[in-house]
């Protein structure tokens, strides 16, 4: 599903964020990425998502080989990937419902389906009572759950989640990971970047660790 060969990334200003990453993630896999702050976890996820081009190396998504994913293909690719951003990236002027619905609307799903699926998804993340709130009227953890709902509602082929439980209490964190496990069991590839040792230990899935931009176990 996702393969990387000798991928390196340096940001402008010469900061090396990733160095020589070779990695294979199979279809339907459930993978944790861990590592200290600044190790390159978010960068790795952004490269898979096509929002940061790698400086070197190659990326294979669905058997297609990319050096840099061309701009016109990005919308189609992104509709297949659910991304939970570390900083949420919610639209501040839209309600919780509309933020979640957006990722279905851009795919052209009919309105009645959208309504049903968004409502169900909000129930899963326990935000049904906040559907009409704007993001700035929510607590940190509530915003994070909106971001999760938006990524999952479209039943994507791949879910990339960047620190999805950083603002959630342990009980809720477990419930969210259970949600990820459930969609994973229906065939979705799930990649989660996290610091939460407790979760990694509890679920004991394949885990890769980054440090200073390098894989330290794979």
């Amino acid at each position: 599903m996702i393969q990387m060969f000798h991928v390196s990334k340096s940001y402008e200003g010469g900061v090396p964020a990733l160095a020589d990453i070779t990695l294979k993630i199979g279809k339907g896999e459930f993978l944790f990425i861990t590592g200290p702050s600044g190790a390159g976890k978010s960068t790795l996820l952004k490269i898979m998502f096509g929002s940061e081009p790698p400086t070197q190396g190659q990326l294979i998504l669905d058997g297609r080989n990319y050096i840099k994913i061309p701009q016109p293909e990005l919308p189609a690719l992104r509709r297949r990937i659910g991304f939970v951003f570390q900083d949420f990236k919610l639209l501040p002027n839209k309600s919780v419902f509309d933020n979640v619905a957006l990722s279905l609307k851009v795919m052209g799903i009919p309105p009645s389906d959208v309504k049903r699926r968004v409502a169900r998804m909000l129930t899963y993340v326990k935000l049904q009572h906040r559907a009409n709130f704007k993001p700035l009227q929510l607590s940190g953890g509530e915003q994070q759950r909106v971001a999760i709902a938006r990524a999952m509602v479209k039943d994507p082929a791949i879910i990339l989640a960047d620190e999805p439980t950083g603002n959630l209490d342990p009980e809720l964190s477990v419930q969210i990971i259970e949600l990820f496990k459930e969609v994973n069991s229906r065939g979705t590839t799930v990649v989660i970047a996290t610091h939460d040792k407790a979760l990694i230990e509890k679920y004991a899935r394949r885990t890769i660790a980054l440090e200073g931009g390098r894989l330290v176990n794979a």
Partner: protein, 297 residues
Amino acid sequence: MRKSGSADFVYIISDALSSLKESKGTTALTSLTLGFSLAIFSLFVFVISNLNGVMEGWGEKTQIVVYVKDNVSSAEAMKDSIMKVAGVRGAEFVSKEKALSELKGALKGYEGILEGVDANPLPASFEIKVLEENNSPEGIAKVVGELKARDWAEDVQYSREWVEKLASFIKFMKIAAIGVGVFLGAATLFIMSNTIRLAVYARRSEIEIMKLVGASDMYVRAPFVIEGAVQGLFGGILAFAILAAGRAAIIGQVPSYLAFALEMPFPVPVFLLALIMAGVVMGVAGSLISMNRFLDV
């Protein structure tokens, strides 16, 4: 992998409309700026169109006078012959008697000065008007040349100085009008596009997020197109309202001999439509151009 369905278009429009509601504030500010800018520019167009009319009127007054020999030809024959000259638009006969009475009028109060004069020494004449396109020093010279060749013509007079002064004045006014027009056009375009750019700039992160969620460029553009169109629509209507209100306020104060200055250069609906169209084109183009560089996410 789902392909875009038929609901696409509906979403694009309905989302764009609801985004319009969310950004009422900046849309209103931008509409006002567009309106005022358009009003400034069309005030200029308005003044210039009417000035043009005045200048054309002056042009009409340029006259050539042909004094004719007594008893050589009939007035009708001479008039026909004059009208055949290329560039002549009209000719009016002034008889010897009329010339004398005009002189008497000019000397009013001192007519006594003419008492000793028995025979009428004044010649008859034709006052001639030339066509608009011949109303230049060269055009006039050509007409004068042809008229001089007539055997019944005693003398042809015209004020070379007046013709040249008028021509240079009209030329200057045209250059000045083009200069001011280009400046005002550039200024209003600039102001409008800057305003739109600032409004779009405030929403750059929205554009980024939409793209990250998988929206096509069209989906992201739609709200900006509609917003631009609405801004242009309101801007155009506002500009029209400002001008109409200004004209209404001033029209009672105008002495009647100056009323021409406030004539509408075009029919009112054409004017309104032109303003709206100008506003919409600018609003839409401005929005699209301004947002484009944020699309590359």
